[in-house]
C-alpha cells in the first residue's frame, strides 16, 4: 500500500539556534539530530538530543518538531506540529 511506504532522512545540528557551524557540524559538536519520516501524506520531524560519543539519540528529549501535510501544504511552510488537533497522529508517530 503506497500509504505505508516511508522515506527516512536525518540531519544533525550543533545547537537549537542557527550558528556558524549549523550546516556542517563536526561529529563531536552534534547535540541535536532531526529525524524525519516522509510518507505520501505528510513529513514529520522530531529534533532530539543526540550523544555523539555513544551515537545515541534520546527520543524523550525533544527539542522541536515539524509536521506538514502534503496535500494542504506541499511547500512545507505551515508547521502544525504544535497544533493540538494533530495530537493523536503525533502520539502514534512518537517512537
Amino acid at each position: 500500500n503506497p500509504r505505508e511506504l516511508i522515506a527516512y532522512s536525518q540531519y544533525p545540528r550543533p545547537a537549537d539556534f542557527p550558528q556558524w557551524n549549523s550546516d556542517k557540524p563536526s561529529l563531536k559538536d552534534i547535540k541535536v539530530m532531526g529525524y524525519s519520516i516522509r510518507t505520501i501524506d505528510y513529513r514529520y520531524t522530531v529534533w532530539v538530543g543526540f550523544n555523539p560519543t555513544e551515537f545515541l539519540a534520546n527520543f524523550s528529549d525533544i527539542h522541536a518538531g515539524e509536521l506538514y501535510f502534503v496535500d494542504s501544504d506541499p511547500l512545507q511552510d505551515h508547521n502544525v506540529y504544535n497544533d493540538s488537533q494533530h495530537g493523536g497522529l503525533l502520539l502514534s508517530l512518537r517512537p
Partner: protein, 422 residues
Amino acid sequence: TDALNILLIIVDDLRPSLGCYGDKLVRSPNIDQLASHSIVFENAFAQQAVCAPSRVSFLTGRRPDTTRLYDFNSYWRVHSGNFSTIPQYFKENGYVTMSVGKVFHPGISSNHSDDYPYSWSFPPYHPSSEKYENTKTCKGQDGKLHANLLCPVDVADVPEGTLPDKQSTEEAIRLLEKMKTSVSPFFLAVGYHKPHIPFRYPKEFQKLYPLENMTLAPDPHVPDSLPPVAYNPWMDIREREDVQALNISVPYGPIPVDFQRKIRQSYFASVSYLDTQVGHLLSALDDLRLAHNTIIAFTSDHGWALGEHGEWAKYSNFDVTTRVPLMFYVPGKTALLPAAGEKLFPYQDPFDPASELMGAGRRTEDLVELVSLFPTLAGLAGMPVPPWCPIPSFHVELCREGHNLQRYLQLHDLEEDPYLFG
C-alpha cells in the same frame, strides 16, 4: 545470457528541477530523453542532505546511523564497520569497476582514495581542472577575477581551457570505448560536479534563462512556525566573494531579491550544462552499441534549496533538499531493445527549441529511498540481493537497509506488453 553492464550517473546537488519531473522552466532534454526510456521515481529521498554522508549511505546501502558518518571526517571501514559497497560487490562478481569524477566524496570519508582498491578495479579518475573550481577564475563586474558563487565563464579563458565535467565525460567515453571489447562486464560510475557550487559553467547557458524570466521561490520567507533548530543558515555560499560583498545578515538574511534571481538563473544554467554532458555520454554509449546491454541508473546525492523557506543550499530535512531524481533504464524492460542502427539516446541540444519533447516514460509516485540503490542494482544485474541487515549490523559486511525496487521493474518483456509494444 551475458551479464548486463552498469552505468551509474551521480549528479552533485541536483534537485529534481528537470523537464521529466515536471519543471516547465528547465531545459534538460537529454535527461528527459533518458527518463522516457526509464522507470522514473517521482518521490525518491536521500537519507541525509549533505554530500559525504549521503554518498557513503547509498554506496554502502546503510543508513547514516549505521555508517555513523554525519559529517566529512570518518571512513566507515575504520569508524563503524567494514561495509561492502555497490562497486565492490560488482567487482567481487566479475565486473570491471571504474570511477570517474565525484562518486565518493573525496577526502577522509573515502580514505583519501575513493575507497580504492576495495571498490574499484583501477585508481579512480579525477579531472585535472577540478583544482581551479574554487580559485579566482570568475570575471567580476570590475573586470578582475574572483572566487564567486556565480561564475559563468568563457571556457577558452579558464585554466586548461576546460571544465571538470567536460573532462569527466571525455574520460568516461574513453573507458566505454575500451570496455567495448572487454570480455568482462563493466560497472562505470560517473560523478558530475555541477550544479554543486560554485556555479561555474559555460556562460552561453545563461541565455537559456533570461533574468527577466527568473522568479523567486514560491515561498521565499522563513516560515514563522519553523523551529530555529530546523533552519539551515547557508553558511557555505556566504563565503563566496560576490555574496560576501552583499553584507547579508546572519543567520536569516535575506539575500537581495535581484541576487536571488541570479542564483536561480545560474543553478538552472548549470543544470542545462550538466544535461549536455549527460547527453554526450549517453549518445557515445549508443554509438558504441552498448545501449542494448547496459543498465543506466541516474540520481543525485541530495537536492538544493533555491530560496524556499528563506534557505539556500542543502543541510536540512526539507523536501527541496532531500528529494532527488532517480531513474533506471533497463534494456528490454523499461524500453524496447534498440533495433540495429536505432538510436535510443541521440544527443539533444538544449538550445534547439525543437529538441523533441520526450515521452514521459514509466513513473511511480511511491516513496523510495537512495539507500535502496544497492539492492536494486544488484537485483537488476541478476546478482543475489544482499540480505536485510540485522540490528545492529556493524559486524556484517554485506547486507542492506533499503528495499529492492526491482518490483517496480518487474515488467514482463515489452514484447509481451501489447499496450507498450503498440
